[in-house]
Amino acid sequence: MVDLGTDEIVKYPFLDEAGKYLSDKGFSLEQFGSDPDLKKIVENAFERIITASEGRIFKSDLASNNSALPMEIFSFLIAVILLKLSGMNTLIRRFSLAEARRAEKFLEKDLINQKDVKKSKQSLQILQELFSVTVQKDDEHFTIPIADYLKHAINFHEREWKLINRRVVSGKVHLTSHETVRLVRKELDRHIFNKISLSSSPEMIQGFEPYVQKLRTLAKKFEVKTVESTEFPPCIKHAIEVLEKGENLSHSGRFLLATFLLNKGQTVEQIAPLFKNAPDYNPKVTLYQLKQLSGTTQYKCPSCEKVKTQNLCFPVSACDTIINPLQFGRKRV
């Protein structure tokens, strides 16, 4: 495990050592609810959550950590307690993402730290241990094995992250320090989210109630209601048209159509007649395959990215904001 000093825990308070740090300091949670001197930390923790919920990054005041009570380590840990007490997943999500982005900034700085080789090495170690990404420093840029890169890059929808848009040499992808760190943002976010989710929920602490109540009210603001239109996305319309014309629809096209309709709640019997015009139509085989798809495994409708790869995507403007055909026509209200 990476060996961290106080200033490192301030930057990456979600690493294992942070929890140990608190117990080492000999504080109990009750003290934070009652001790007026510690109240500032609770205020700070609350602010940290509010900032995160607004999509901003909590601004570090590194000087505040030089005191006997490193403010930012405590405020992170208390924020986690407040979030657990509120039980509001939306807030935990927003908090994790903001904290991930905060840590990302430090990680990037450390990666290119020429003066302090230890810091630079430590950041490479964090990437390796937390995300199993083997990053090598190569003059000005960083290289990552393609397989490692892909495990993370597939979570991005922006085209610049596609392998084709990267410099690829001898099995390695070349990245800047910014890109290297950006690559693991989602996992960093997930790491923090999981850590919070999996930590045990404490009993309500006296003095925390007003904060927790405020957080619950705040979370309601972020609830999303959606309506869905019944119009099919263009890829599905295309698949149906091809079949209606009696032309051959590829295996992946049939898979897309069937899984889409099954996911929309249609039955095997409702879907099967769609295939009757196919040049190789065989009612027995069609029923068998549809039953397989709707069986215990419950195949998912392929993502837009996959549909694109299979040349079955015919996007319209309403497709810009979706990543799966099933989301087509879904609107927030």
Partner: protein
């Protein structure tokens, strides 16, 4: 397929297997692979587990299969249903098929078979007999299309080695037994990656999804664009060669690109995709639960064998993968164009009974253009 044809094919295939057990081996980690086979006029039997070559040979003798398959994936429990197999890893495999490389069917080696009236005729858009447009395409031997498919395989290999860092020794090329090649990359660092990651590798190889920025275009400050150099590695170099044609034209062409603008360049990239993207079958590489024709087995679409290719330059599938003997057989053939097997030209046959070597008879029956008399 009629009963007589089935018996002829079953007996011929069985004889081939009996005589050539040395070509048929279970792959490494056989115990973790899923095997499958099909019988003539029968459905697919999957989720089979085989431990040794002996068990494989027994399966071939007992079942007289038309086609035999083996997964590229390894599972904890290969013989359980898909959802319970527990996927462990899979060899990276590419499929390059002549029909994807040549893009357009050539009348010299293509026939159509009407799905409504079964009429076989030269390549047209509708059945000359009943005007139906439900047509199955039948392609016969073509040394030109095999040559361009081989060229595509070589281009793929270069990318695998130079860009994807694959050890040249570990790339194994197989003739698919019909009209293409399967390129296996076993035990590479890509062994553990999933379907989505493989889709990215596919897009890379096919040159799909490239954006102008990758080639130095600055969308909002075109004059500051820095274009790739002729000698750059990877797609940068390949695109530079397409763009400048000759090295010294870089600055001239760069100016043209700048005055043409972002959208025009984007369109050109799209054209290059069709022109220089490697024409692999994306689905084959992306599917990590697929079963592939077993090397050494006969492809029932042609009667040719899926065979290891030692030297792609010298390889001739129409002789090297044709293992059936030349004993004369009478068949009723309907083949309006000619084809060449084992350096012998056959056809055209106009709905007539002909006496041909067995390898040619089997080829035509497999292609659906002849049947036993």
């Amino acid at each position: 397929m009629n009963e007589k044809d089935v018996i002829l094919l079953e007996d011929t295939f069985k004889k081939f297997y009996f005589d050539h057990f040395e070509l048929l081996h279970v792959p490494e980690n056989s115990i973790q692979r899923e095997f499958g086979f099909q019988k003539f006029n029968g459905g697919m039997n999957r989720h089979i587990s085989l431990k040794s070559d002996k068990e494989l040979h027994l399966l071939l003798m007992q079942n007289k299969p038309s086609d035999v398959y083996c997964s590229n994936a390894c599972y904890s429990f290969p013989n359980l249903p898909m959802s319970e197999k527990n996927w462990l890893n899979a060899d990276l495999i590419f499929d390059i098929d002549a029909k994807d490389v040549t893009k357009k069917n050539q009348p010299e080696n293509t026939l159509i078979k009407c799905s409504d009236c079964n009429e076989i005729s030269n390549l047209t858009n509708s059945c000359p007999n009943c005007k139906s447009t439900k047509l199955a395409i039948i392609t016969l031997t073509s040394s030109e299309s095999i040559q361009s498919t081989k060229d595509e395989v070589k281009k793929l290999n270069q990318i695998l080695i130079d860009e994807l860092g694959v050890n040249p020794e570990s790339i194994k090329i197989f003739f698919s037994g019909n009209e293409g090649f399967h390129i296996y990359v076993p035990k590479s660092e890509y062994q553990n990656i999933g379907s989505k990651e493989r889709a990215e590798i596919v897009d890379y190889i096919m040159f799909r999804g490239a954006i102008p920025e990758t080639f130095g275009i600055k969308k909002f400050d075109l004059n500051k664009s820095i274009f790739p150099k002729f000698d750059d590695g990877g797609w940068n170099g390949r695109i530079a060669k397409q763009l400048y044609r000759i090295k010294s034209d870089r600055s001239k062409v760069s100016q043209e690109i700048i005055s043409g603008g972002y959208t025009l360049f984007q369109k050109r990239l799209e054209e290059f995709r069709h022109k220089i993207g490697i024409q692999i079958d994306p689905n084959v590489t992306i599917d990590i639960h697929r079963i592939f024709r077993l090397p050494g087995s006969i492809n029932s679409k042609s009667g040719l064998v899926k065979i290891f290719v030692e030297n792609i330059n010298k390889f001739d599938p129409y002789t090297d993968a044709c293992f059936i003997d030349d004993e004369k057989v009478d068949v009723h053939a309907n083949c309006p164009i000619s084809f060449t097997l084992k350096n012998t030209k056959f056809g055209p046959y106009n709905n007539e009974t002909v006496s041909v070597p067995k390898f040619s008879a089997i080829y035509m029956i497999c292609k659906g253009i002849a049947s036993s008399t």
